[in-house]
């Protein structure tokens, strides 16, 4: 905690966290708005069913929520690693 990172290290940290943020938000958008809404009718017709539920419908009502949790876990883990690098 007592060490002061250089400006370059700080810039590197910031650009890496922004990149992570963009990647995670793209996944977030693709799953919810993409699979859950925009491509839902197409996925319902062309993708294998999850049990007896059409694919897009299942993503909208179950799959998206599960993905959101995974996204947040990934965010916590990767940011934690970045933090450690900065502190070390």
């Amino acid at each position: 905690m007592s060490k002061h990172p250089t400006d370059e290290e700080k810039r590197d940290y910031w650009s890496k966290s922004i990149k992570l943020l963009i990647v995670l938000l793209l996944i977030w958008f693709f799953v919810s708005f993409g699979c859950g809404i925009l491509f839902r009718p197409w996925l319902d017709d062309n993708f294998p069913k999850i049990g007896s539920a059409p694919f897009g419908f299942w993503i909208a009502q179950q799959g998206s929520i599960i993905s959101f949790i995974l996204i947040l876990i990934a965010y916590a883990k990767i940011m934690g690693r970045l933090d450690k690098k900065l502190e070390a």
């Binding site: 700080k10 977030w28 708005f33 925009l38 539920a53 179950q62 929520i65 876990i73 916590a76």
Partner: protein, 615 residues
């Protein structure tokens, strides 16, 4: 044991637990009052936030609206969970770093203007008020059910309890009580679902039953196919297809998500944990706890729909189950025998002449003739209504979406104690959210408005006095609208709070954090344009505007309903803010430094991360 005895037992036990915890963890200092002293563990905070987040609207209304609208209901599921991703990655770590305890504080300092602070306070008060309305309605419904009284009386009783309860302890007391409330809610929501899943699908896990087979008299059939067939037979859209347009669905979901990320009372929750690492951890715990209920809601909704139709459609009123008559007597269900055959018929739009109408009567809710024992009854014993009957379609059954969760255990013949637990869960949901909201609302008035803007020399004692006045005022307004709901069901009323948050706080905070170039002129004009556009649009279509009258559906901008207009308001906010900032002087140096400072992790500055200090 009778049903009432079970209800009172569970509610009594849970209340005793809440009061015990609230007294044990009373706030000892102002910091504990506002942010629980900043030392709550991530899992505890996750549970408390989940309880705070899941309101009576979610608990009572969401499964019902899923049940009625099928796929269309996914907007609530995705909207109210997906917003947490935005909140966690875009907002909380940075606002926390900024180090003030309220959201208007950030807006006021970042946009270096008292006007910005004032606009933010007004937005915060307005959003919380809209939200509280939904809560009070929820409380009213539970008490109506519990004591067999009319909803308005239930609302008044609920408000009295919430007022005394929220006054007990600050954030610390609320946090630990909410942990207990979450536990009650989770059990109350999932247990009935498990019972119903077992009878309907033979599967003990509702989420598997949902995608599994329906165990009918003619052998197993895929459950969702069965539901789709029921729906199309009766003239409704297929359950898995829904009937909202894609653009409307997109906009509503976006408004709910961005609204979630801009709700002041949720952001404040993440100021109660130790450091930014704990914030991230707490965020995924919160969402996981929320998911326990959100993944169950679609199953409850779909099971209830099958049960409701199998139980009531084409059944004579005289032989209809007792629960139907109970819900009729609390005004949540009405049957009008249009063809005078004594049988209940439930049909969708597809069965009407115009294919557009399935209204039973004119008006949002039935106005019954006479109350209690003096209720006027028709030839079959049904309650009569004053509303004008709509005769261009054969649908005879009206029920509020709010009824579904409460009715589903009765429909599924679950044990009586499960219903008692469900009642306790509903009350926990309403209490936990209302308490959190009242705390934020009273801080907005006493701290942000009175102390920071109107009267800076305000003493601590007066600040607390103003906080009390604000909570009382908010409850009175909330009750009024809970008794005269502006929308047909709870989830819809609450959806408006999100539209307003999406068009004001979300873009303003986002630009404040990530774009140094946005100056005070841009920030303020964006916020004002966004929220006024959204507010006027919603008012025009919900209540009508003076001189313009009330809008109709074919006047919707791009076919977007008032629920989704927050998304357009948000885009407008961004556009105005960038345009105005472009033509006005750049942001001063100290503000640019402030933004840079927010971007640095605490470790980079060699500081310990202890969360926002008390203002």
């Amino acid at each position: 044991m009778s049903q009432n005895a079970w209800n009172f037992l569970f509610i009594g036990l849970s209340f005793a637990a809440y009061i015990f915890i609230a007294i044990r963890s009373r706030a000892g200092s102002t910091k504990e009052y506002y942010t629980a002293g900043g030392g709550v563990s991530p899992i505890t905070n996750g549970m408390a936030t989940a309880a705070d987040w899941m309101s009576a609207a979610t608990f009572i209304s969401m499964a019902g609206s899923l049940s009625i609208s099928g796929y269309d209901g996914s907007r609530f599921l995705m909207g109210w969970t997906g917003g947490f991703v935005l909140l966690t990655v875009l907002m909380v770590p940075f606002l926390r770093k900024f180090g003030k305890a309220t959201v208007p504080d950030f807006v006021g300092d970042r946009y270096y203007s008292q006007t910005a602070r004032l606009v933010a306070v007004v937005c915060a008060i307005f959003i919380c008020l809209t939200y509280i309305m939904g809560q009070m309605r929820g409380v009213g419904i539970v008490f109506a059910q519990l004591f067999g009284i009319e909803i308005w009386l239930g609302v008044i009783i609920g408000a009295a309890i919430v007022f005394f309860y929220a006054g007990l302890g600050g954030m610390k007391g609320i946090t630990y009580t909410q942990v207990a409330q979450y536990t009650v809610m989770a059990f109350a929501y999932t247990l009935p679902a498990i019972f119903i899943a077992m009878t309907l699908t033979g599967n003990i896990i509702p989420q598997l039953g949902f995608i599994g087979d329906y165990q009918g008299a003619d052998g197993p059939v895929p459950f969702l196919e069965k539901l789709n067939n029921i729906n199309t037979d009766l003239g409704f859209a297929k359950y898995t297809d829904g009937s909202l347009s894609t653009i409307d669905m997109f906009c509503i979901t976006a408004a709910l998500m961005c609204g979630t990320a801009g709700l002041p009372h949720v952001i404040v929750r993440f100021f109660t944990v130790k450091d930014v690492k704990a914030v991230r951890k707490s965020a995924y715990w919160t969402l996981s706890f929320i998911a326990v209920i959100y993944l169950t809601a679609p199953t409850v909704g779909s099971f209830a729909r099958v049960n409701l139709i199998e139980n009531l459609h084409d059944t004579s009123y005289a032989e209809a189950p007792q629960w139907m008559k109970d819900f009729e007597s609390t005004g949540q269900l009405a049957w009008i025998d249009k063809n005078d055959d004594g049988k209940i018929q439930y049909f969708g739009k597809g069965k009407s002449e115009s294919k557009k109408d399935d209204d039973v009567f004119i008006g949002k809710v039935p106005a019954f003739k006479g109350l209690g024992d003096s209720a006027e009854r028709g030839s079959h014993g049904q309650r009569l209504v004053e509303n004008e009957i709509v005769t261009n379609n054969p649908n005879e059954l009206w029920f509020g979406a709010d009824m579904m969760v409460m009715a589903s255990p009765y429909m599924g013949n679950t044990p009586k104690w499960v219903i008692g637990l469900l009642m306790a869960g509903c009350i926990a949901a309403a209490l936990s959210t209302a308490a959190g909201l009242l705390l934020v609302l009273s801080t907005a008035v006493s701290h942000d408005l009175m102390k920071k803007i109107i009267k800076p020399e305000l003493s601590d004692k007066e600040e607390i006095k103003w906080a009390r006045i604000a909570s009382f005022g908010a409850l009175v307004v909330g009750c009024f609208f809970a008794i005269n709901p502006p929308s047909s069901f709870v989830a819809k009323t609450v959806a408006f709070a999100f539209g307003l948050a999406a068009s004001s706080f979300f873009p303003t905070l986002l630009m404040g954090i990530f774009f140094k170039r946005i100056n005070k002129h841009g920030g303020i004009s964006g916020m004002i344009c966004g929220i006024s556009f959204t507010f006027l649009y919603i008012t025009y279509f919900q209540f009508g505007l003076p001189g313009l009258g009330k809008g109709t559906e074919d006047q919707y901008l791009f076919g977007i309903s008032p629920e989704g207009i927050g998304t357009i308001g948000m885009l407008l906010n961004f556009a105005v803010a960038f345009a105005v900032s472009h033509f006005t002087p750049p942001t001063p140096k100290d503000i640019r430094d402030l933004v840079d400072n927010i971007h640095d992790p605490r470790a980079a500055l060699g500081q310990a991360d202890t969360g926002p200090s008390h203002h």
